[in-house]
């Protein structure tokens, strides 16, 4: 069912996750993330989608007391990014993230996109300018902002801001991009633009996206994983999941029989 000829970019193996209050939010989650494909995570609220996603860039390390147990192995180098010896900052340099609400920095458009490079001590102006342009083009934003790169990012519309955040993430050449409900704060038109953009990134970038909106997962993803109560209930290619899921739970969720 799953196309096995596509290389695997990352793989979670028996991943458990405990929040600082002891809550076990992920239970033995194993799944592959295929290279240059879009993988969507769906499931009812509180099932652990965001928790799972945020394991990939060790975002949980920002808040003390959280505990990982299990592995997330990146390929081709076979690094377990959850291992104790691995610095979260190093992980975040390889794996970018785009958040639910557009969160541009209070800087100019240019500086927003350049931020990742500055953090990486890139001093060469030419290199920075080129990268910024490339990233903005990649995020389909270049044409709209090329004449006002020095405007404050806050002056952009919500959808543009979100594309700016995507450009910011793109500028650092990440190996994987994480999206946590990237459109739930946007109106339908901006949503469609972001979805279309993700569609264009497919094939160039490995994407893992959490979405509340089942239909969105159906529209944009190649593979879909259905999570429930911290467990991975079913994983498969999107066409299959949406037309003939294997498990009753998935079927019920997809056809609106939960409750």
């Amino acid at each position: 069912m799953v196309n096995t000829s596509t290389p695997i970019k990352a793989e979670s193996k028996n991943l458990n996750f405990y929040y600082s209050n002891g809550h076990l939010a992920l239970k033995n989650v194993s799944m592959p993330i295929y290279e240059n494909k879009i993988t969507a995570l769906i499931g009812p609220s509180g099932c652990g989608k965001s928790t799972f996603l945020r394991c990939f860039n060790r975002m949980h390390d920002l808040y003390p007391g959280n505990k990982y147990d299990g592995q997330i192995v990146m390929h081709p180098d076979n690094t377990n990014i959850l291992a104790d010896g691995v610095d979260p900052i190093e992980v975040r340099m390889r794996i970018s993230m785009v958040f639910q609400k557009p969160n541009p920095f209070p800087k100019t458009i240019f500086e927003n996109v350049a931020y990742g490079l500055r953090v990486r001590d890139e001093k060469n102006h030419r290199v920075v300018a080129d990268k910024v342009e490339e990233a903005l083009k990649g995020a389909s934003l270049w044409n709209e902002v090329k004449d006002r790169l020095n405007d404050l990012a806050f002056n952009l519309s919500g959808g543009q801001q979100q594309r700016l955040c995507i450009a910011r993430a793109l500028a650092t050449d990440p190996e994987i991009m994480l999206f946590d409900e990237p459109t739930s704060a946007l109106d339908p038109i901006a949503t469609a633009n972001i979805e279309e953009l993700m569609n264009e990134l497919r094939g160039k970038l490995t994407i893992l996206v959490v979405t509340h909106n089942m239909q969105q997962a159906a529209r944009i993803s190649d593979y879909t994983a259905y999570m429930y109560l911290g467990e991975m209930m079913e994983y498969g290619d999107t066409d299959t999941i949406f037309t003939r899921p294997v498990r009753k739970e998935t079927e019920d969720y997809i056809t609106g029989k939960f409750g």
Binding site: L62, S96, M97, F105, P106, R120, R168
Partner: protein, 309 residues
Amino acid sequence: MHNNITELAISPRLAKNIRRNIKERMIELILMLAALSAVFTTFAIVAILLYESFGFFETVSLVEFFTSTEWTPLFEDAHYGIMPLIAGTLTTSLVALAVAVPVGTIGAIYLSEFASHKTREITKPILELLVGVPTIAFGYFALLFVTPLLQIIYPDLPGFNMLSAGLVMGVMIVPYIASVAEDAMRAVPMSMREGSYAMGATRFQTALRVVTPAATSGIVAAYILAISRAVGETMVVAVAAGQQPNLTFNPTEGAATITAYIVQVAMGDLPHTSIGYQSIFAAGLVLFVMTLCFNIIGYVVRKKFREQY
């Protein structure tokens, strides 16, 4: 037919309308009068200051007021130059700011970005308590604790000096700046920080490159409000800096500030219409105008910050 029925149903409501509306109007009027008290107070302040200063400036020319380098309204040989008082005020304020701005800002950054949740929860209230300590206590502290301490290091320091008054005032203002600046930084949404961390930034990079710029106007507002407070501060300087008008910017000397002068005059029982009595209103007017300027700037900056989030 229909119309009749509904009219019957509605008319008792309409009767209630009128009573209801009168009551609502009355309440609004009373509340408005209360709100006007603020305007009244401002006008009263301005009016009193102007009125009494008017008497003062009938005797003293504005030129002398601003150019004379001596302030001795109570002496036989009276001079009316406000400059010494302003110099004293500014010097103590600058010393205070020199302490409060760096300490307050760094403290704020530490609290909002580095401190653990627990540290913050404990430290923040203590800082707020510091704001509540009566200034007279700080005056005592400056005069009887800090000055002797400084005299160990610097034996020539006079008993009344602007340095110790300024230093204590600085520490007194730290929580002001730290608290307001930290609020401003905390108002920066967590998502923005997560955005930065997600790019691989460290805490310090995030604090310096993202959080502080985002909170700039809030932090600046904190500084300005702190200046205004330093300028208007009375008891610390009145107690510890001395009450001798002295045109100097050397903090190791003693000097009177505007506020200290007013206290000094008010302590002695001056006759109502004397020039000495009037002089404190003139000095007060100057003080009022200075703080007003800072307040307005601070207000504008803070408003701008509020609109941002």
